[in-house]
């Protein structure tokens, strides 16, 4: 029996069996799934309002920081946590060396935040304290008389000295995240502070501004403040030209000593959410993308990027318009060498290389896809393709991709991929 027929017969039988099996699963309580989803969504919205790293825009915060200073939490310390109407004392586990086993309610967080803000009125107040499953956070709509504006604060812990700690206070590259200004500085107490003036939508389809201040202390206390020039971060009309707080005012808020005590009062390291978008340890965020960027020839501007782990895409521009470049780095592919590299060139060191020009895979008009496909003797496959369009489903916007087959081949054969494998 020919191999194809063999496979097809099994394929059909398997598909039938899979459908039968799938239909045999019944949820007892679909309404609970719907409600549970809404609760998670609302929580995420609250968090998102307050966390600059939230959502898909959290990618690619790469760049280099500078250095600036602040008096380390002195005279403007807003309030001792044990002050009037202060936090309840609890027996909850206190994570680090906090002076007392205290906890903070959502109202405590809101009160402290308001004390640090200029005069104005508040609406849509929401907050959760240290007793919640979520990190402590607060959200208000603040109006200083010049237009209502959303303000969000979130508090969390990061591993001191970790990549995450570095990333949250590192200004993003303008090629990846458009913004009007960003400074990253080191304060006298060793904390790092990033002040970022950017936009809610990186593509600026709506000009809602989002300004943030990110503070990470040497102990890993992370304070994140965001403000918008609209009463909501999305789907609300812009209400004023700029968000209400100046950079100096944002700095004053995030450096207040009270927030460090709140972080210290958080229960010990909550387990990361199973669905967190943070990549696992050992797989640096955007690793394939970073390597790909480092291998690009001179004269190209990266205008967009994405992907994760072993897959990445870039849109590069050589002055003639965007050209999509995508890469897959796949270990353990020796078993398909015959299928993929049947007539490939074999280099002296055993690596297999093949290049090809083919029509795009998504059926858009005039799209071509140029590909270099390589397989190392250890089974690592690196395949990189470039297109004559910024997006595969879009019609061709230029005659040829921005990279030649020779350049694609050089990229795919780079030894940098071996190091990361």
């Amino acid at each position: 029996m020919p191999e194809n027929q063999h496979t097809d017969l099994f394929e059909d039988r398997f598909a039938t069996a899979l459908r039968d099996t799938g239909h045999s699963f019944r949820t007892d309580d679909p309404a609970a799934l719907v409600t549970g989803g809404r609760v998670r969504g609302r929580r995420a919205q609250l968090l998102r309002r307050t966390a600059v790293l939230g959502g898909a825009a959290g990618v690619a915060l790469v760049g280099v920081g500078g250095a600036l200073l602040l008096p380390g939490g002195t005279h403007d310390d807003p309030r001792r946590t044990s002050a009037a109407a202060g936090p309840a004392r609890t027996a909850s586990p206190s994570a680090s060396a906090s002076p007392a086993a205290v906890s903070f309610t959502g109202d405590d967080i809101l009160r402290s935040l308001k004390e640090l803000l200029p005069k104005g009125t508040y609406s849509e107040e929401a907050a959760e304290g240290t007793g919640s499953m979520m990190p402590p956070h607060a959200h208000v709509v603040f109006d200083d008389g010049k237009g209502a504006a959303a303000i969000g604060l979130s508090l969390n812990r990061v591993e001191p000295g970790s990549e995450q700690a570095r990333q949250v206070t590192t200004c993003p590259d303008k090629a990846f995240v458009d913004h009007d200004g960003c400074t990253s500085t080191r304060l006298p107490d060793g904390s790092r502070l990033m002040l970022f003036r950017g936009y809610e939508y990186p593509d600026r389809r709506v000009d809602t501004k989002r300004w943030t201040a990110e503070l990470v202390t040497p102990k890993g206390q992370h304070v994140s403040l965001s403000e918008w020039n609209a009463p909501a971060e999305k789907d609300a009309p812009v209400s004023r030209p700029q968000p209400p707080l100046s950079e100096a005012q944002m700095k004053k808020v995030v450096t207040a000593g009270v927030w460090r005590r709140v972080v210290d009062a958080m229960p010990a390291s909550p387990k990361p959410s199973v669905t967190s978008e943070v990549p696992p340890q050992g797989v640096p965020a955007g690793s394939a993308g970073d390597t790909l960027v480092s291998l690009l020839p001179d004269g190209l501007t990266v205008t967009d990027r994405g992907g994760e782990g072993d897959y990445a895409f870039l849109v590069v521009d050589d002055g003639q318009g965007g050209s999509l470049v995508q890469i897959n780095v796949q270990p353990g592919m020796s078993d398909v060498a015959g299928q993929l590299f049947g007539d490939a060139e074999k280099l002296p060191d055993g690596r297999l290389v093949t290049t090809r020009k083919s029509p795009g895979e998504k059926g858009a008009e005039g799209v071509v896809m140029w590909t270099a496909d390589t397989l190392r003797p250890d089974g690592l496959r690196v395949v990189v393709s470039a297109f004559n369009t910024p997006a595969q489903h879009q019609d061709a916007t230029r005659d040829a991709p921005a990279l030649t087959l020779t350049q694609l081949r050089e990229i795919a054969l780079s030894s940098k991929w071996d190091a990361g494998a």
Partner: protein, 169 residues
């Protein structure tokens, strides 16, 4: 406005909950607890992006994509535990008539790498084309074909040619 949004979301989610749950059960190789968690997480993400989702050409397909990516993000975090075990997953209703097929198929699916399993579910349960599957997984069509061939080969080894005998007559 919020009220309307919540109602629209609830209507959509109620209509899709059953199907997404079944998809999630297959993706998780029969781990129904994880499946519930993934569906809730998917709905949570849809809720947050509801404005965009409701305007999408095919909100149901959008939901399926979010579910699949949520599952893969989960598996990536658990990659050290990716190896299949010899124990059968915790299956409800293991005593009913579907049990032999379910147990056997789920045990086989559990032995596939997560991405291969996602390819199999999208291709043979969701009936997506290779290109559509590639879009959902953010990989090339060639990568989907490769994974599909490999996964089917492995499943044939595990299930044998007569997989249909487990199925309903």
């Amino acid at each position: 406005m919020r009220q309307r949004r919540t109602e629209d979301y609830a209507e959509f989610a109620s209509a899709r909950a059953g199907h997404l749950y079944r998809s999630a059960c297959l993706l998780t190789a029969g781990d129904t607890h994880l499946a519930e968690d993934l569906v809730q997480e998917t709905f949570g993400r849809l809720y947050v992006r509801w404005g965009r989702v409701s305007r999408a050409e095919n909100p149901a397909a959008y939901a399926q994509t979010v579910l699949t990516r949520t599952f893969l993000a989960h598996r990536r975090l658990r990659s050290s535990r990716e190896r299949a075990t010899d124990t059968f997953p915790d299956l409800p209703g293991a005593g009913d008539g579907d049990a032999p097929l379910r147990l056997t198929l789920m045990a086989a699916l559990a032995r596939l790498p997560a991405k291969d399993r996602a390819v199999v579910v999208l291709r043979y349960w969701e009936d997506l084309s290779v290109d559509q599957t590639a879009d959902v997984l953010n990989v090339s069509s060639a990568a989907v074909r490769t994974r599909c061939v490999r996964a089917l080969g492995r499943l044939r080894e595990l299930l044998g040619e007569d997989v249909h005998e487990y199925s309903r007559p």
